[in-house]
Protein backbone atom coordinates (compact mmCIF):
# COMPACT_ATOMS: atom_id res chain seq x y z
CA UNK A 1 0.00 0.00 0.00
CA UNK A 2 1.57 3.25 -1.16
CA UNK A 3 0.61 5.99 1.28
CA UNK A 4 2.27 8.95 -0.41
CA UNK A 5 1.34 8.40 -4.06
CA UNK A 6 -1.96 7.76 -5.79
CA UNK A 7 -1.08 5.39 -8.63
CA UNK A 8 -3.17 5.31 -11.81
CA UNK A 9 -2.28 2.89 -14.60
CA UNK A 10 -2.98 4.22 -18.09
CA UNK A 11 -2.59 2.65 -21.51
CA UNK A 12 0.71 4.33 -22.28
CA UNK A 13 2.16 4.72 -18.83
CA UNK A 14 1.51 5.42 -15.18
CA UNK A 15 0.41 8.50 -13.28
CA UNK A 16 1.89 9.02 -9.81
CA UNK A 17 0.14 11.72 -7.82
CA UNK A 18 1.91 12.69 -4.58
CA UNK A 19 -0.53 13.29 -1.75
CA UNK A 20 1.88 15.40 0.23
CA UNK A 21 4.17 18.36 -0.39
CA UNK A 22 7.60 17.40 -1.73
CA UNK A 23 9.64 18.59 1.23
CA UNK A 24 12.45 17.20 3.38
CA UNK A 25 10.14 16.18 6.22
CA UNK A 26 8.25 13.72 3.95
CA UNK A 27 11.21 12.66 1.87
CA UNK A 28 11.92 9.24 3.40
CA UNK A 29 8.34 8.12 2.67
CA UNK A 30 8.35 9.76 -0.76
CA UNK A 31 11.59 8.08 -1.81
CA UNK A 32 10.37 4.67 -0.67
CA UNK A 33 6.96 5.23 -2.28
CA UNK A 34 8.50 6.33 -5.57
CA UNK A 35 10.88 3.39 -5.65
CA UNK A 36 7.99 1.00 -5.09
CA UNK A 37 5.79 2.76 -7.64
CA UNK A 38 8.22 2.81 -10.56
CA UNK A 39 9.78 -0.63 -10.15
CA UNK A 40 9.26 -2.61 -13.34
CA UNK A 41 7.15 0.15 -14.88
CA UNK A 42 7.55 0.83 -18.59
CA UNK A 43 6.36 3.67 -20.79
CA UNK A 44 5.93 7.15 -19.43
CA UNK A 45 5.90 7.87 -15.72
CA UNK A 46 3.84 11.03 -15.17
CA UNK A 47 4.30 12.64 -11.79
CA UNK A 48 1.17 14.75 -11.28
CA UNK A 49 1.80 17.65 -8.91
CA UNK A 50 -1.89 18.67 -8.72
CA UNK A 51 -1.91 18.21 -4.93
CA UNK A 52 1.55 19.64 -4.32
CA UNK A 53 1.58 23.22 -3.10
CA UNK A 54 5.20 23.43 -2.03
CA UNK A 55 8.47 21.86 -3.00
CA UNK A 56 11.91 22.38 -1.48
CA UNK A 57 15.35 21.32 -2.68
CA UNK A 58 14.78 17.73 -1.57
CA UNK A 59 11.62 17.65 -3.71
CA UNK A 60 13.62 18.85 -6.70
CA UNK A 61 16.12 16.11 -5.89
CA UNK A 62 13.31 13.53 -5.88
CA UNK A 63 12.32 14.49 -9.44
CA UNK A 64 15.95 14.41 -10.57
CA UNK A 65 16.42 10.99 -8.98
CA UNK A 66 13.25 9.71 -10.66
CA UNK A 67 14.45 10.98 -14.04
CA UNK A 68 17.90 9.43 -13.64
CA UNK A 69 16.42 6.17 -12.44
CA UNK A 70 14.08 5.89 -15.41
CA UNK A 71 16.72 6.98 -17.92
CA UNK A 72 18.22 4.01 -19.68
CA UNK A 73 15.16 1.87 -18.99
CA UNK A 74 12.12 1.67 -21.25
CA UNK A 75 10.55 4.53 -19.32
CA UNK A 76 10.72 8.28 -19.08
CA UNK A 77 9.57 10.96 -16.70
CA UNK A 78 7.02 13.71 -17.37
CA UNK A 79 5.95 16.19 -14.70
CA UNK A 80 2.35 17.36 -15.08
CA UNK A 81 -0.09 19.50 -13.15
CA UNK A 82 2.57 21.82 -11.74
CA UNK A 83 1.39 25.11 -10.26
CA UNK A 84 2.91 28.20 -11.84
CA UNK A 85 5.20 28.72 -8.85
CA UNK A 86 6.52 25.18 -8.95
CA UNK A 87 6.80 25.17 -12.75
CA UNK A 88 8.73 28.46 -12.58
CA UNK A 89 11.04 27.02 -9.94
CA UNK A 90 11.77 23.90 -11.99
CA UNK A 91 12.29 25.77 -15.24
CA UNK A 92 14.49 28.38 -13.55
CA UNK A 93 16.84 25.47 -12.83
CA UNK A 94 16.57 24.29 -16.44
CA UNK A 95 15.07 20.95 -15.45
CA UNK A 96 12.79 21.25 -18.49
CA UNK A 97 15.93 20.61 -20.57
CA UNK A 98 15.99 17.12 -19.12
CA UNK A 99 12.32 16.10 -18.80
CA UNK A 100 9.01 17.70 -19.86
CA UNK A 101 7.25 19.90 -17.32
CA UNK A 102 3.59 20.80 -17.84
CA UNK A 103 1.68 23.41 -15.90
CA UNK A 104 -1.66 22.65 -14.26
CA UNK A 105 -3.65 24.54 -16.87
CA UNK A 106 -1.95 22.58 -19.66
CA UNK A 107 -2.75 19.11 -18.37
Amino acid sequence: MNTVFEIISEADGTVLRPTTNLVAESMADLRAGLREAITDKEGEIRIDLAKVEFMDSSGIGLLIAAHNSLKGRAAQLRVIGASDNIADLLTSMCLDRHFPIERADAS
Binding site: A24, F54, S57, S58, I60, G61, L62, L63, I64, A65, A66, N68, S69, N85, D88, L89, S92, M93, C94, L95, R97, H98
Partner: protein, 389 residues
Protein backbone atom coordinates in the same frame (compact mmCIF):
# COMPACT_ATOMS: atom_id res chain seq x y z
CA UNK B 1 48.58 14.31 -4.00
CA UNK B 2 49.33 11.71 -6.66
CA UNK B 3 47.08 8.90 -7.69
CA UNK B 4 48.62 5.47 -7.28
CA UNK B 5 49.79 3.98 -10.57
CA UNK B 6 49.01 0.35 -11.12
CA UNK B 7 52.07 -1.71 -12.07
CA UNK B 8 50.17 -3.08 -15.07
CA UNK B 9 50.09 0.37 -16.56
CA UNK B 10 53.85 0.00 -17.06
CA UNK B 11 53.77 -3.62 -18.12
CA UNK B 12 51.06 -3.29 -20.76
CA UNK B 13 50.81 0.16 -22.27
CA UNK B 14 47.44 0.69 -23.85
CA UNK B 15 47.34 0.91 -27.63
CA UNK B 16 45.30 3.91 -28.68
CA UNK B 17 42.60 3.73 -31.30
CA UNK B 18 42.13 6.37 -33.97
CA UNK B 19 39.00 6.64 -36.09
CA UNK B 20 39.70 7.86 -39.61
CA UNK B 21 36.64 9.35 -41.32
CA UNK B 22 37.08 10.16 -45.00
CA UNK B 23 34.99 9.36 -48.08
CA UNK B 24 38.07 8.83 -50.27
CA UNK B 25 39.29 5.20 -49.87
CA UNK B 26 42.78 6.16 -50.99
CA UNK B 27 43.05 8.75 -48.21
CA UNK B 28 41.88 6.23 -45.62
CA UNK B 29 44.39 3.68 -46.86
CA UNK B 30 47.21 6.20 -46.72
CA UNK B 31 46.33 7.27 -43.19
CA UNK B 32 45.80 3.68 -42.07
CA UNK B 33 49.31 2.67 -43.11
CA UNK B 34 50.82 5.76 -41.55
CA UNK B 35 49.02 5.32 -38.24
CA UNK B 36 49.59 1.56 -38.08
CA UNK B 37 53.28 2.12 -38.58
CA UNK B 38 53.21 4.63 -35.72
CA UNK B 39 51.68 2.03 -33.39
CA UNK B 40 48.01 2.99 -33.39
CA UNK B 41 44.95 0.83 -33.91
CA UNK B 42 42.96 2.30 -36.80
CA UNK B 43 39.24 2.13 -37.46
CA UNK B 44 37.74 3.50 -40.67
CA UNK B 45 34.50 5.15 -41.70
CA UNK B 46 33.55 6.30 -45.20
CA UNK B 47 31.23 9.12 -44.15
CA UNK B 48 29.64 10.78 -41.13
CA UNK B 49 26.86 8.22 -40.78
CA UNK B 50 29.35 5.37 -40.72
CA UNK B 51 31.44 7.33 -38.25
CA UNK B 52 28.59 7.51 -35.72
CA UNK B 53 28.11 3.74 -36.05
CA UNK B 54 31.85 3.20 -35.59
CA UNK B 55 31.78 5.36 -32.46
CA UNK B 56 29.31 2.96 -30.87
CA UNK B 57 31.70 0.03 -31.22
CA UNK B 58 34.16 -0.86 -28.47
CA UNK B 59 36.63 0.46 -27.66
CA UNK B 60 35.59 4.06 -28.14
CA UNK B 61 38.26 5.82 -30.24
CA UNK B 62 40.83 7.93 -28.44
CA UNK B 63 41.02 10.46 -31.27
CA UNK B 64 39.16 11.16 -34.50
CA UNK B 65 40.55 12.36 -37.82
CA UNK B 66 37.56 13.86 -39.58
CA UNK B 67 37.25 14.93 -43.20
CA UNK B 68 34.96 17.92 -43.74
CA UNK B 69 33.33 17.35 -47.13
CA UNK B 70 31.59 13.97 -47.16
CA UNK B 71 28.28 12.49 -48.32
CA UNK B 72 25.50 11.55 -45.86
CA UNK B 73 26.71 13.90 -43.14
CA UNK B 74 29.60 16.35 -43.47
CA UNK B 75 32.39 16.68 -40.91
CA UNK B 76 30.85 19.61 -39.04
CA UNK B 77 27.45 17.87 -38.70
CA UNK B 78 29.17 14.63 -37.67
CA UNK B 79 31.09 16.50 -34.99
CA UNK B 80 27.87 18.02 -33.65
CA UNK B 81 26.40 14.52 -33.35
CA UNK B 82 29.51 13.37 -31.49
CA UNK B 83 29.27 16.30 -29.08
CA UNK B 84 25.70 15.34 -28.16
CA UNK B 85 26.95 12.17 -26.47
CA UNK B 86 28.45 12.94 -23.04
CA UNK B 87 30.84 9.98 -23.28
CA UNK B 88 32.20 11.14 -26.63
CA UNK B 89 32.39 14.85 -25.95
CA UNK B 90 35.97 14.84 -24.68
CA UNK B 91 37.42 12.84 -27.57
CA UNK B 92 39.79 15.11 -29.51
CA UNK B 93 38.76 15.72 -33.11
CA UNK B 94 41.22 16.88 -35.76
CA UNK B 95 39.65 18.10 -38.97
CA UNK B 96 41.46 17.15 -42.18
CA UNK B 97 40.33 19.02 -45.24
CA UNK B 98 41.23 20.57 -48.53
CA UNK B 99 39.52 23.79 -47.36
CA UNK B 100 42.39 25.96 -46.24
CA UNK B 101 40.61 29.30 -45.89
CA UNK B 102 40.43 31.01 -42.53
CA UNK B 103 36.62 30.92 -42.39
CA UNK B 104 36.62 27.13 -42.65
CA UNK B 105 39.31 26.86 -40.00
CA UNK B 106 37.42 29.14 -37.62
CA UNK B 107 34.20 27.25 -38.28
CA UNK B 108 35.96 24.04 -37.26
CA UNK B 109 37.37 25.57 -34.07
CA UNK B 110 34.03 27.17 -33.24
CA UNK B 111 32.48 23.72 -33.56
CA UNK B 112 34.88 22.46 -30.91
CA UNK B 113 37.67 20.94 -33.01
CA UNK B 114 41.00 20.70 -31.21
CA UNK B 115 43.01 21.02 -34.40
CA UNK B 116 42.76 21.52 -38.14
CA UNK B 117 45.10 20.30 -40.86
CA UNK B 118 44.94 21.17 -44.52
CA UNK B 119 45.48 18.54 -47.21
CA UNK B 120 47.90 17.46 -48.51
CA UNK B 121 48.95 16.27 -45.08
CA UNK B 122 52.58 16.50 -44.01
CA UNK B 123 52.91 13.16 -42.27
CA UNK B 124 55.38 14.03 -39.48
CA UNK B 125 53.23 17.02 -38.56
CA UNK B 126 50.06 14.91 -38.41
CA UNK B 127 51.72 12.34 -36.13
CA UNK B 128 53.16 15.06 -33.91
CA UNK B 129 49.78 16.72 -33.51
CA UNK B 130 48.03 13.43 -32.82
CA UNK B 131 50.54 12.64 -30.05
CA UNK B 132 50.15 16.09 -28.51
CA UNK B 133 46.38 15.81 -28.34
CA UNK B 134 46.48 12.26 -27.01
CA UNK B 135 48.96 13.28 -24.30
CA UNK B 136 46.79 16.26 -23.42
CA UNK B 137 43.75 14.01 -23.09
CA UNK B 138 45.68 11.56 -20.91
CA UNK B 139 46.70 14.41 -18.65
CA UNK B 140 43.13 15.67 -18.50
CA UNK B 141 41.79 12.23 -17.57
CA UNK B 142 44.53 11.82 -14.97
CA UNK B 143 43.53 15.17 -13.51
CA UNK B 144 39.90 14.09 -13.29
CA UNK B 145 40.96 10.84 -11.61
CA UNK B 146 43.13 12.73 -9.16
CA UNK B 147 40.32 15.11 -8.34
CA UNK B 148 38.00 12.20 -7.70
CA UNK B 149 40.56 10.68 -5.34
CA UNK B 150 40.84 14.00 -3.54
CA UNK B 151 37.10 14.24 -3.19
CA UNK B 152 36.92 10.79 -1.67
CA UNK B 153 39.69 11.49 0.77
CA UNK B 154 38.09 14.76 1.83
CA UNK B 155 34.65 13.31 2.28
CA UNK B 156 34.90 13.31 6.05
CA UNK B 157 36.21 16.83 6.29
CA UNK B 158 33.72 19.15 7.91
CA UNK B 159 35.69 22.24 8.81
CA UNK B 160 35.06 25.01 6.37
CA UNK B 161 37.09 28.18 6.34
CA UNK B 162 35.47 31.15 4.72
CA UNK B 163 37.62 34.15 3.91
CA UNK B 164 37.20 37.26 6.03
CA UNK B 165 36.73 40.41 3.91
CA UNK B 166 39.06 42.31 6.26
CA UNK B 167 41.87 39.87 5.49
CA UNK B 168 41.35 40.17 1.74
CA UNK B 169 40.76 43.89 1.14
CA UNK B 170 41.96 43.72 -2.48
CA UNK B 171 38.96 41.50 -3.26
CA UNK B 172 36.57 44.35 -2.30
CA UNK B 173 33.71 42.25 -0.97
CA UNK B 174 31.46 42.07 2.05
CA UNK B 175 29.53 39.11 3.34
CA UNK B 176 26.59 38.26 5.54
CA UNK B 177 26.52 34.61 6.54
CA UNK B 178 24.29 32.87 9.05
CA UNK B 179 24.84 29.13 9.01
CA UNK B 180 21.77 27.47 10.42
CA UNK B 181 22.44 23.90 9.47
CA UNK B 182 25.09 22.02 11.39
CA UNK B 183 27.26 21.56 8.33
CA UNK B 184 27.08 21.30 4.57
CA UNK B 185 24.45 23.49 2.97
CA UNK B 186 25.56 26.90 1.77
CA UNK B 187 29.08 28.18 1.51
CA UNK B 188 31.05 30.93 -0.15
CA UNK B 189 34.62 31.41 -1.21
CA UNK B 190 36.76 34.24 -2.57
CA UNK B 191 40.20 33.69 -4.04
CA UNK B 192 42.54 35.29 -6.58
CA UNK B 193 42.40 33.95 -10.13
CA UNK B 194 44.94 36.25 -11.76
CA UNK B 195 47.08 39.31 -11.10
CA UNK B 196 44.07 41.63 -11.17
CA UNK B 197 41.14 39.25 -10.85
CA UNK B 198 39.28 37.43 -8.11
CA UNK B 199 36.77 34.59 -8.16
CA UNK B 200 33.64 34.74 -5.98
CA UNK B 201 31.57 31.66 -5.24
CA UNK B 202 28.18 31.23 -3.61
CA UNK B 203 27.06 27.62 -3.53
CA UNK B 204 24.35 25.46 -2.04
CA UNK B 205 24.55 21.69 -1.80
CA UNK B 206 21.11 20.11 -1.64
CA UNK B 207 19.99 17.83 1.12
CA UNK B 208 20.05 18.00 4.88
CA UNK B 209 21.52 14.56 5.31
CA UNK B 210 25.03 15.27 6.53
CA UNK B 211 26.19 11.74 5.88
CA UNK B 212 25.35 12.11 2.19
CA UNK B 213 26.42 15.72 1.80
CA UNK B 214 29.59 16.45 -0.08
CA UNK B 215 31.89 18.35 2.23
CA UNK B 216 32.06 21.89 1.12
CA UNK B 217 35.79 21.86 1.77
CA UNK B 218 36.23 19.40 -1.09
CA UNK B 219 34.18 21.45 -3.49
CA UNK B 220 36.04 24.59 -2.52
CA UNK B 221 39.39 22.86 -3.00
CA UNK B 222 38.42 21.80 -6.51
CA UNK B 223 37.15 25.24 -7.47
CA UNK B 224 40.42 26.80 -6.32
CA UNK B 225 42.47 24.13 -8.04
CA UNK B 226 40.62 24.62 -11.33
CA UNK B 227 41.15 28.38 -11.12
CA UNK B 228 44.87 27.81 -10.52
CA UNK B 229 44.90 25.71 -13.69
CA UNK B 230 43.44 28.67 -15.60
CA UNK B 231 40.02 27.17 -16.18
CA UNK B 232 37.42 29.86 -16.62
CA UNK B 233 34.26 29.57 -14.49
CA UNK B 234 32.30 27.88 -17.26
CA UNK B 235 35.00 25.26 -17.83
CA UNK B 236 35.48 24.76 -14.12
CA UNK B 237 31.79 24.03 -13.62
CA UNK B 238 31.85 21.60 -16.54
CA UNK B 239 34.74 19.77 -14.91
CA UNK B 240 33.09 19.83 -11.49
CA UNK B 241 29.95 18.28 -12.91
CA UNK B 242 31.98 15.26 -13.92
CA UNK B 243 33.59 15.08 -10.49
CA UNK B 244 30.43 15.38 -8.51
CA UNK B 245 28.22 12.93 -10.38
CA UNK B 246 29.86 9.78 -9.01
CA UNK B 247 30.08 11.30 -5.53
CA UNK B 248 26.59 12.64 -5.05
CA UNK B 249 23.73 10.50 -3.81
CA UNK B 250 20.85 9.96 -6.27
CA UNK B 251 18.91 13.19 -6.59
CA UNK B 252 21.57 15.25 -4.84
CA UNK B 253 22.82 18.36 -6.62
CA UNK B 254 24.59 21.65 -6.04
CA UNK B 255 23.76 25.11 -7.26
CA UNK B 256 26.55 27.62 -7.74
CA UNK B 257 26.86 31.25 -8.72
CA UNK B 258 30.44 31.82 -9.86
CA UNK B 259 31.71 35.33 -10.62
CA UNK B 260 35.13 36.16 -12.02
CA UNK B 261 35.95 39.86 -11.88
CA UNK B 262 38.94 41.75 -13.22
CA UNK B 263 39.24 44.70 -10.87
CA UNK B 264 41.25 46.82 -13.29
CA UNK B 265 39.12 46.48 -16.42
CA UNK B 266 35.79 45.65 -14.77
CA UNK B 267 35.43 42.68 -17.10
CA UNK B 268 33.17 40.17 -15.39
CA UNK B 269 31.88 36.69 -16.10
CA UNK B 270 29.00 35.24 -14.12
CA UNK B 271 28.37 31.52 -14.52
CA UNK B 272 25.41 29.86 -12.87
CA UNK B 273 24.64 26.21 -12.25
CA UNK B 274 20.97 26.24 -11.30
CA UNK B 275 21.51 29.09 -8.86
CA UNK B 276 19.10 31.91 -8.09
CA UNK B 277 19.64 35.22 -9.90
CA UNK B 278 22.24 37.77 -8.89
CA UNK B 279 21.29 41.41 -8.38
CA UNK B 280 23.21 44.30 -9.89
CA UNK B 281 22.97 47.93 -8.97
CA UNK B 282 22.30 50.24 -11.92
CA UNK B 283 25.22 51.81 -13.74
CA UNK B 284 24.05 55.29 -12.81
CA UNK B 285 24.90 55.73 -9.11
CA UNK B 286 21.90 58.06 -8.72
CA UNK B 287 19.45 55.64 -10.31
CA UNK B 288 17.03 53.53 -8.29
CA UNK B 289 16.28 49.85 -8.53
CA UNK B 290 18.35 46.81 -9.35
CA UNK B 291 18.91 44.61 -12.36
CA UNK B 292 18.09 40.92 -12.01
CA UNK B 293 20.80 38.81 -13.63
CA UNK B 294 18.84 35.64 -14.31
CA UNK B 295 21.59 33.48 -15.75
CA UNK B 296 20.03 30.06 -16.10
CA UNK B 297 22.03 26.87 -16.14
CA UNK B 298 21.71 23.23 -15.16
CA UNK B 299 22.24 22.27 -11.53
CA UNK B 300 25.57 20.60 -10.85
CA UNK B 301 26.33 16.95 -10.29
CA UNK B 302 23.04 15.34 -11.30
CA UNK B 303 22.91 15.16 -15.10
CA UNK B 304 25.32 13.76 -17.72
CA UNK B 305 24.44 16.63 -19.96
CA UNK B 306 25.40 19.84 -18.20
CA UNK B 307 25.35 23.38 -19.46
CA UNK B 308 25.92 26.33 -17.14
CA UNK B 309 24.36 29.71 -17.80
CA UNK B 310 26.92 32.42 -18.56
CA UNK B 311 26.73 36.21 -18.70
CA UNK B 312 29.60 38.50 -19.59
CA UNK B 313 29.39 42.13 -18.60
CA UNK B 314 31.45 45.05 -17.33
CA UNK B 315 31.19 46.12 -13.71
CA UNK B 316 31.65 49.86 -13.45
CA UNK B 317 33.60 51.52 -10.64
CA UNK B 318 31.38 51.77 -7.55
CA UNK B 319 28.79 49.49 -9.12
CA UNK B 320 27.94 46.55 -6.86
CA UNK B 321 26.82 42.99 -7.56
CA UNK B 322 25.16 40.73 -4.98
CA UNK B 323 25.19 36.94 -4.94
CA UNK B 324 22.68 35.21 -2.64
CA UNK B 325 21.60 31.89 -1.30
CA UNK B 326 17.95 30.95 -1.63
CA UNK B 327 17.32 31.50 2.09
CA UNK B 328 17.01 35.17 1.14
CA UNK B 329 14.09 34.68 -1.25
CA UNK B 330 12.10 31.83 0.28
CA UNK B 331 11.22 33.67 3.50
CA UNK B 332 10.42 37.26 4.35
CA UNK B 333 10.26 38.53 7.91
CA UNK B 334 9.53 35.09 9.30
CA UNK B 335 6.96 34.02 6.69
CA UNK B 336 7.33 31.56 3.81
CA UNK B 337 6.97 33.36 0.48
CA UNK B 338 7.01 32.23 -3.12
CA UNK B 339 10.22 32.95 -4.98
CA UNK B 340 8.97 35.81 -7.21
CA UNK B 341 7.69 37.61 -4.11
CA UNK B 342 10.90 36.86 -2.27
CA UNK B 343 13.01 38.15 -5.14
CA UNK B 344 10.94 41.32 -5.32
CA UNK B 345 11.37 41.90 -1.57
CA UNK B 346 15.08 41.33 -1.89
CA UNK B 347 15.36 43.78 -4.79
CA UNK B 348 13.65 46.41 -2.67
CA UNK B 349 16.04 45.81 0.22
CA UNK B 350 19.09 45.84 -2.05
CA UNK B 351 18.00 49.03 -3.81
CA UNK B 352 17.51 50.75 -0.44
CA UNK B 353 21.06 49.82 0.57
CA UNK B 354 22.62 51.44 -2.49
CA UNK B 355 24.11 54.46 -0.72
CA UNK B 356 25.60 52.46 2.15
CA UNK B 357 29.16 51.16 2.19
CA UNK B 358 29.15 47.53 1.23
CA UNK B 359 30.07 46.22 4.69
CA UNK B 360 27.05 48.02 6.16
CA UNK B 361 24.79 47.19 3.22
CA UNK B 362 24.98 43.41 3.66
CA UNK B 363 23.80 43.55 7.28
CA UNK B 364 21.09 46.07 6.43
CA UNK B 365 19.73 43.90 3.62
CA UNK B 366 19.80 40.81 5.83
CA UNK B 367 17.93 42.55 8.67
CA UNK B 368 15.31 43.81 6.23
CA UNK B 369 14.60 40.29 4.98
CA UNK B 370 15.20 38.43 8.25
CA UNK B 371 14.85 40.71 11.31
CA UNK B 372 15.27 37.59 13.42
CA UNK B 373 17.72 35.20 11.81
CA UNK B 374 16.74 32.53 14.33
CA UNK B 375 13.38 32.25 12.54
CA UNK B 376 15.04 31.50 9.20
CA UNK B 377 14.75 27.88 8.08
CA UNK B 378 17.73 27.87 5.74
CA UNK B 379 21.28 29.22 5.70
CA UNK B 380 21.50 32.90 4.86
CA UNK B 381 24.35 33.95 2.63
CA UNK B 382 24.87 37.25 0.84
CA UNK B 383 28.07 38.27 -0.93
CA UNK B 384 28.38 41.88 -2.15
CA UNK B 385 31.19 42.70 -4.53
CA UNK B 386 32.58 45.91 -6.02
CA UNK B 387 35.64 46.84 -8.02
CA UNK B 388 38.44 47.85 -5.73
CA UNK B 389 39.32 51.53 -5.71
Amino acid sequence: MSSPIHPDSYAQPRVETILVVDDAPENRTLLKHLLHAAGFVVREAGDGCEAIKAMEENPTPDLILLDVMMPCMDGFATHQEILKQPNWRDIPVIFLTALGDNDSKMKAFNHGAVDYLTKPIYRPELLARIRVHLRFRQSYNALVAEHLAQLQSLKEAQAVLMPDPAELPEAAFAVFYAQLKEAGGDFYDVFPSGPDSFDYIVADISGHDLGAALPTAALKALLRQNAALHYDPEESLQLLNRHLQPIFAPGQYATIAYLRLNHITGKALLASAGHIPALLHPEDPNAQGTTVMDVRGDPLGCFDSFSPGVARFRLLPQQRIHLFSDGFIEQFQGREVDRPTGLHNLQTAVAASHSLPRDQATGTIARQIHPDTASATDDLLLLSIERRE
